[in-house]
Homo-oligomer: 401 residues x 2
């Protein structure tokens, strides 16, 4: 395997760990940059493996596998945050730059570590405590005005899994019984106040090892059942000062935690007009998918440019409004299983629609693609994106056999 | 090899013959559409083969190889126009839709056939004649006001090869001696008047088997030594009526010749304010590369949508001006061989710049990438694109070892 597709060139090969849709969309951006990727995929034919010839199928928890994939690659980056930090330390010691690095990634791997670090640097979060048992949950609830409170496993949760709202000491006890199904090794239980938020915001930044930062416009995200459903860029009716504050929080976190690549900071906008950090992700993020069609430089290209320490591209939006709606696997008969069958209607109805399918089998609730619409009139843009996503899901349209 | 990446889906696999940069950029668009490609490449590691896992290396002139690649693919499309028509007829007879089909492609393969057909449907071309020998060239020259005239091999020419401007009967005799180096089987010699043109225009349309057509804005193209150098979209100072006429010519040719996919019609705008058809290409075309970053739907995505008979995307431009400049291999030392080394300067200077590298080895005059700039001020947009392309070529910048 040659490290570069172009003879006489300094072009690096970039190792990407994880074969999901984020790696797939990184691969699409890498085609334009002329940067070859080497992929470590979880299985044959997973989303990114369909579009990256140089793919190894193997287990990211196995150091030898990681070493094999990283061989000849100066830089290693990630589709997810699950690679064990000791393995990343080993790769780093052997001369591979891991971006983001293990000391940054631990904050995306462990919500307890993340909360402690945000406290340390003075970035506001919901009130929280590590709780060892149901009694500690009740004590925490007392300190924040009573139940309900939120319980989270510090490790292993995703897309709403590993997060519970509990209304009583009894429910807290039940959750302690459930948590083992989600939590991974070293996980603790984190209690948080249930924030009475106006909405959820997300601030994305790309940061390079040299310290350059590009801050995307702050977006509004709507979640259903803990899964990202719809994103509007920029967040409507967001005051300039709060937008700036959200961007500054993201830049601050990126710098303090030495994040390289994309950092997504999910926040609550409270009814009191504050922003509280909810979650961190250190990779391209669902709340940044709008940028493929809506921004000058997509989050995927800027992730690649950042981890390769190339100057970043402009994160500026290309038009007034962009709305992204996820295509989640539905449970509505033939149409919802056959995404391709949604093209004739959705494309004919809206020649300006942008569609991204991930090559994944459709299962209820699974992220299998997204649609993007953009334009000057937010209501119209939203209607177009929502209609298309609903058609792909099978919530609209023919129910024929 | 499964025909679809998504279980329970009607997603077709699309066969693409030819592994150059056009197939590479089709592959990039196919990632978003979720359509798997199967590629027939000329060699290991060629431009598109770097980004398409399902690649067969083989000879497109071999029918068995074509059959193997087409197996399980309902539709076959092309990176170039060189597949022998009898092979395409055979594939079609075996149930593979070739798009464009052999009866259309012959007009892009043979300039003599093309000129005769354009005459038949009344589409204006430069005056022309098939010439069997140098004496016939002199007779043709007499009929159009004397030398110089243009001589072209009807088959086998590309990027300025197979085209000569001859100023005398002696030069015509020389060209008849040279032509065998370029011409392919069945080639004849075509004489054309040397048009006193104001500039070159290009009109691109995407056309589907169902007959839907999307017409891109007419662009101005600048050639150097017969190779596309710079494209401005839309063509500046083009009257609305001439733009419409150029689009109508392209739509007419697409319909009459039953072209499916992208058709590029290169034209001369004469000083008298007419458009004369120069060349046809039945595939995504260099004069349409601006559309990746500059239009709602790129020519590559619309080529795929057209050959799959999906509704076409809007070809509308996303801003006032888009300028694309080719990166041609230079001959200027280290920098010009190492395209990646041009990133720090070009990206830092212009965060809005779009760059597309093709993963090809740099050779003088070879198309190895392109850059695109867009914005409201044409002079500024042009300067940005030209500067970046010059830097990649090595015509600017450090000449360090």
């Amino acid at each position: 395997m040659t490290p570069s597709a172009q003879a006489g060139s300094s072009t690096p090969t970039l190792a990407v760990v994880g074969g999901g849709q984020l790696a797939r969309m990184m691969a699409q951006a890498a085609v334009g940059l002329g940067v070859p990727l080497r992929l470590l995929a979880e299985g044959e034919g997973v989303s990114a493996a369909q579009v990256v010839p140089d793919t190894t199928v193997g287990d990211y928890r196995d150091l030898e596998t990681l070493r094999e994939v990283a061989r000849g690659c100066a830089v290693v980056t990630f589709d997810h945050e699950h690679v064990p930090p000791p393995h990343l330390e080993a790769l780093a010691a052997e001369g591979h730059a891991c971006r983001p690095g293990p000391s940054a990634l631990v904050h995306a791997q462990d919500k307890g570590v993340m909360r402690a670090r945000l406290d340390e640097i003075g970035v506001p979060s919901p009130r929280h405590a590590i709780v060892a048992d149901p009694a500690a949950v009740s004590a925490f609830a007392d300190s924040v005005g009573g139940f309900p409170v939120v319980l989270k496993t510090t490790r292993g949760g995703y897309d709403g899994k590993g997060v519970w709202v509990v209304g009583s000491p009894e429910e807290a006890t039940d959750v302690f019984g459930l948590a083992d199904d989600v939590a991974t090794a070293g996980s603790r239980m984190l209690a948080e106040e249930l924030v009475d938020f106006r909405r959820e915001l997300s601030a994305l930044v790309a940061r390079s090892p040299s310290g350059q930062v590009a801050a995307y416009p702050v977006v509004e995200s709507v979640q259903k059942d803990g899964i990202c459903w719809e994103v509007t860029a920029p967040a409507p009716d967001l005051s300039e000062s709060l937008a700036l504050q959200a961007q500054q929080v993201a830049m601050r976190v990126a710098a303090e935690l030495d994040v390289t690549g994309i950092l997504a900071v999910e926040m609550f906008e409270t009814r009191a007009g504050e922003v509280l950090v909810n979650e961190l992700a250190m990779r391209p993020h669902n709340t940044g998918h709008w940028s493929i069609d809506g921004a000058v430089t997509s989050q995927f290209e800027n992730h690649l440019r950042a981890v390769l320490d190339l100057p970043l591209g402009s994160p500026a939006p290309r038009q007034r409004w962009t709305v992204m709606v996820n295509i989640l696997g539905g449970d509505h008969g033939r149409l919802s299983e056959d995404l391709y069958a949604a093209y004739p209607h959705t494309f004919a109805r809206d020649p300006f629609l942008r569609v991204h399918l991930y090559g994944k089998d459709v299962k209820p609730g699974r992220k299998v693609g997204h649609v993007t619409a953009y334009g000057d009139d937010l209501d119209e843009v939203r209607e177009r994106a929502r209609h298309a996503a609903a058609w792909f899901r099978g919530d609209l349209g023919e129910e024929s056999e």
